[in-house]
Symmetry: C2
Subunit: 147 residues, 2 copies
DNA sequence: TCCTTATTGATAATAATTATCATTATCAGT
DNA sequence: ACTGATAATGATAATTATTATCAATAAGGA
């Protein structure tokens, strides 16, 4: 994300916090800035480590508490990867998927394809389950890491 | 899986162990039996807990070591779930996906649909990534938990 | 059956997450 | 702008999960 894009996301998130009765504090802003500015999905520990380079670092407990809040508000979600789970990424609007580079971790957001809806209907008929969500993630190597 | 089906899987796995120079021991057999007989994806801790009810329980270190070996042999894989990750499930042959009940955790194996291949080709052209794997998981409620 | 050595299990060490509580800082109300 | 109620922080303790260590054990080829 570009710096101005990060600011825009931060403002949206701040509105959501206030609408739900949460205060906007410096630690929370720092966590949100780190997440929104990152090119890769970060773990709680990675977010904490990045904060150590700031003028005023975070408490590890505040990192976990902020992530819990952001997830409850639906502003972030967990990205699951082979051999390194629980990365954090802003929630996607609409029907999108994740493409992740195995080498550098860089992520791309992919438009969802409509065919999956028909697939889901078939699955529900076949199994008797009611499907309310799905995850689709692609793994591979990015252009930079291939060359 | 039915008991006889479990036995069949266990024999296949035992062959794989011996072919790779691993010994078939009682702890390893117990871990494999627990995994193969389970209706839900289990965590390492859950596998250990189940073993406590057996005549001769497992050491927690042996659980982790056995899982590491089985994963290296490609016999099991990690199942990632919202709010409870790193469940263990036997590796699927061919192109299949997972359907997981949010309430009871029961899993169903779903045939993969061919449309995803075309989707992947489009993604590669669009992003410059080379895609070598994908995960597709469906979440919902099973027939039993709906009623 | 014997022997080599891979494997186990008890436990120590490390890492990650959650709980506790005195202190601090946000922000609604004036 | 100031004040006060209290939400939130951060240091740290407690808990939980995972990995490392090593003497004792057992698998399986000879
Ligand atoms: Mn996961
Ligand atoms: Mn989709
Ligand atoms: Zn890359
Ligand atoms: Zn169910």
């Amino acid at each position: 994300m570009t710096p101005s894009n990060v600011e825009q996301v931060l403002n949206t998130w701040q509105d959501s916090l206030h609408q739900h009765g949460y205060r906007m504090t410096r630690p929370r802003r720092q966590v949100m800035e780190i997440i929104a500015a990152s090119e890769t999905a970060l773990t709680p520990q990675e977010i904490y480590q990045k904060s150590l380079e700031l003028e005023r670092s975070l408490g590890i407990a505040s990192v976990y508490r902020t992530l819990e809040m952001l997830e409850e508000l639906g502003l972030i979600q967990q990205i699951h990867q082979p051999g390194g789970c629980h990365g954090i990424w802003p929630t996607l609007e609409g029907h999108k998927h994740h493409l992740i580079c195995r080498d550098c971790g860089q992520m791309q957001v992919i438009e969802g394809n409509v065919d999956i809806d028909g697939y889901i209907t078939a699955i529900e008929k076949q199994t008797g389950y009611r499907v309310d969500d799905h995850w689709l993630q692609f793994f591979g190597r990015c252009d930079g890491c291939l060359n």
